[in-house]
């Protein structure tokens, strides 16, 4: 190992240690890197002109089309959360599943899976889920350890189930790494990977996880009913009225999430465009739910229907491009119809915006979306500076050589990376690991001929497991922060162990049956 490589290794270690100090992640990473670059340049092994490349590397990050999906997905999630649509969804699912053994627990798992997009930060999702459902679960007589385990596990589900922003950034990094592998590691293939591919790949493993979680909770409910008691439907209400009300609260957000996902997987829209439609839809749902004046409510409904009509017209494939030479009268009619619908949508949309503005709700949602997005991109910029300097010192070649020399070739290298990532997951959140580690390890791994989608899904599952694992799992810290004192650390640990076992089962399923991750994206491609 040469001096610069040793320096790059030391830099990585110091950065991990420095992060423990608790200063914000973005500037700890980049700060440590800059200090090591300074040391390197005094030793004459680092060229200061390297710094001049920074703005040129940062600029594409802030303008890349796929990353515009991040604020849009966050906007959608925050809107669903702030307008209490998410809360209602949980409540009605809980009531509906109530008579089932472990029904409330299953409801929590489903909501965790559906709210995937709301944030990319493990902490935030777990906190939200904890505040939302822990008191209810305890009140209904769930055993504290089962309740805590369910919530911690469901809070991390949001990362693996599309559309999650974690998969957006991971997909972006994997896609870059794949090109890098082709460019400088001699991988010969004409394939490209997109974020949409990763979404498709994550769907099946994610659903398997949800299914296993639910099975475990139901089984607990059946075999020890005192741990997960069933709650019968209220008897004093008319059953029909009650079910209609539950469905009314449930269906809109569920349909919204499925529509967004469907439009990405079917290739109708890019993730960014689907996210924008999703954000718009979430806002209209929020107006319908929270506005007290009928006119705004109606405007939002009309607007929503108009958007749906436009999408349907588009899918039907009527050629409505302007400036065609041979336009049939049917096409002309459709264009006029589409234009009318468009103008109706614009007018009603503006009308629907008004109560949002007036109640300061739009302001609050934008505020929170901005702080989350700024945070994500600050880390992205910090991590980019870190990896640039790491490469400048020759660290990437060190990593590649190290992985190449791993015993067992491809599988040894893969296992090594997975174990390292698992332990890094104790200290760092998803974003830092994705931005710092993936660009370093993915190109040499992919050069072995490993399927990029499979690799991405394995990494995501692995990290998700890491966040649940005591004693350092992120999800556990955050959940404990919002739990009542009777949830002790021991109860919490005991609660998550079965879920960790499920995680490991699914990780190994995906390892041994790669088609779980790759079949769907491949079939969508062809």
């Amino acid at each position: 190992m040469s001096i610069p490589e040793g320096l790059s290794l030391l830099m990585f270690v110091v950065a991990c240690g420095g992060l423990m100090g608790g200063y914000n992640v973005a500037f700890t990473l980049s700060g440590v890197a800059v200090i090591f670059a300074a040391i390197g340049s005094t030793l004459g092994i680092f060229d200061v002109n390297f710094f001049l490349a920074f703005p040129g590397r940062i600029f594409p990050l802030i303008t890349r089309e796929i990353l515009i999906a991040v604020p849009l997905f966050v906007f959608m999630g925050v809107m669903l959360e702030k307008s209490r649509i998410a809360e209602d969804l949980l409540e009605s699912l809980a009531v509906l599943f109530g008579p089932l053994p472990g029904g409330l627990g299953v409801a929590v798992v489903c909501v965790g899976a559906l709210l995937a997009a709301s944030t990319g930060i493990v902490g935030a999702t777990v906190v939200t889920m904890g505040l939302l459902s822990l008191p209810t679960m305890l009140q209904r007589g769930y055993s504290p350890s089962l309740a805590a385990g369910t919530i911690a596990a469901s809070g991390t589900l949001g990362q693996i189930i599309p559309p999650s922003i974690v998969l957006v950034v991971l997909g972006d990094q994997i896609s870059n790494a794949f090109q890098e592998a082709q460019r400088s590691h001699g991988l010969v293939t004409s394939q490209v990977v997109s974020v949409g591919d990763l979404f498709a790949g994550a769907l099946l493993p994610g659903l398997i996880l949800v299914g296993f979680y639910a099975l475990y909770i139901i089984a607990t409910g059946i075999f020890s009913p005192n741990k997960a008691p069933a709650t019968p439907w209220p008897v004093d209400q008319d059953r029909k009225v009650f079910i209609t009300r539950a469905l009314k609260a449930m269906l809109p957000p569920i349909i919204l999430v499925f529509a967004v996902l469907g439009s990405i997987l079917s290739g109708y829209a890019t993730p960014t465009r689907a996210a924008a439609l999703g954000a718009l839809g979430a806002m209209l749902l929020a107006v319908i739910k929270t506005s007290d004046k009928a006119i705004f409510c109606k405007a939002a409904i009309i607007s929503l229907l108009g958007i749906i009509a436009l999408v349907i017209m588009d899918i039907m494939g009527v050629d409505m491009r302007f400036g065609q030479n041979d336009m049939t009268s049917f096409e002309q009619m459709m264009i006029i119809l589409a234009l009318v619908i468009c103008s109706v949508v614009v007018v009603t949309l503006l009308l629907a915006f008004w109560p949002m503005l007036k109640s300061k709700q739009l302001s609050a949602v934008s505020h929170k979306t901005m702080t989350i997005t700024s945070m994500v991109f600050a880390i992205l910029i910090g991590a980019t500076i870190f990896s640039l300097i790491f490469r400048g010192l020759g660290g990437d070649e060190l990593v590649a050589r190290f992985l190449g020399a791993a015993p067992g070739g491809k599988w040894g290298a893969l296992a090594l990376v997975m174990i390292v990532m698992f332990f890094l997951g104790f200290f760092l959140d998803f974003l830092e690991i994705t931005f710092v580690v993936v660009p370093l390890v993915a190109p040499p791994l992919l050069a072995f001929g490993i399927d990029p989608i499979w690799l991405g899904i394995l990494m995501a599952l692995n990290l998700q497991t890491s966040f649940l694992t005591p004693p350092f799992g992120f999800a556990l810290f955050y959940l404990q922060g919002v739990s009542p004192p009777e949830i002790t650390t021991k109860i919490l640990y005991r609660g998550v162990i079965p879920f960790i076992a499920i995680q490991f089962i699914v990780v190994f399923l995906v390892v041994f049956f790669p088609w779980l991750a790759t079949a769907l994206p491949n079939s969508l491609l062809s």
């Binding site: 100090g21 608790g22 200063y23 515009i68 849009l72 996210a275 439609l277 718009l280 700024s374």
Partner: protein, 224 residues
């Protein structure tokens, strides 16, 4: 003309570097009334600017939603591909993430690894931020500003526009967001470092704007 402007900006930049000695000066002479007053004003001015910019810029987000949604229909329904519409989404997005960063720092929403940090006492937390500013945020931001010099300099000279013929002619402004991000974060970092010194030296802190939380809250027991 542009040359004089650039020189003026650089001059102001060099002079304002002096300001960054303020936290250290205050740390060593906490009794100086002069230093305390300057620090108070600095903190108040910087916090107001960051908050105001953040509050304005956040409105770009609803606009971003509308812009991207509109471009979906324009393209897929009517086959119109308005480069300007598509590019304005980039401008809105970049503006939000770059100019919102300083307010995010003030509101303490940038992620920290708080396994240990959350258990520290108030002055210890302040020390973490003081050190973090001087070894992390400040060098990185100064480096970004320095390295942007040539990156945006040329762009400004030709008032660079989009590579597409029907695009927005403001690429030089978009590129300027990078040093703007660094300058705003640098200023906000200075303000926080000053607050940290005030906490460490037990001086009066300037009043916090209404929705800004205490940056260095006293440690809470787990489970509360």
């Amino acid at each position: 003309m542009l040359d004089i402007f650039a020189k003026a900006v650089k001059g102001v930049g060099w002079v304002s570097l002096l300001w960054f000695t303020l936290p250290a000066l205050l740390l060593f002479c906490p009794t100086s009334k002069f230093l305390r007053e300057i620090s108070h004003h600095t903190v108040e001015i910087i916090d107001t600017i960051s908050l105001t910019v953040g509050q304005v810029v956040k409105w770009a987000l609803p606009l971003l939603v509308l812009t991207v949604a509109a471009s979906v229909f324009a393209l897929s329904l009517f086959g119109l591909s308005w480069t300007k519409l598509f590019e304005s989404a980039q401008y809105l997005h970049a503006t939000v993430i770059m100019l919102g960063a300083a307010m995010t720092l003030l509101l303490n929403e940038h992620v920290r690894v708080d396994i240990f940090q959350s258990r520290l006492k108030r002055p210890q937390k302040a020390l973490v931020d003081f050190i973090g500013f001087h070894t992390g945020l400040m060098p990185v931001c100064l480096l970004l500003i320095w390295s942007s010099n040539s990156f945006i300099g040329f762009s400004w000279q030709i008032l660079e526009g989009s590579a597409e013929s029907d695009g927005i002619r403001g690429l030089y402004l978009l590129k300027t967001l990078i040093p703007a991000f660094a300058v705003m974060l640098l200023a906000q970092g200075l303000s926080i470092a000053l607050r940290a010194v005030m906490v460490m030296r037990k001086l009066d802190e300037p009043k916090r704007p209404s929705h800004v939380h205490d940056l260095f809250p006293e440690a809470k027991g787990i489970g509360q």
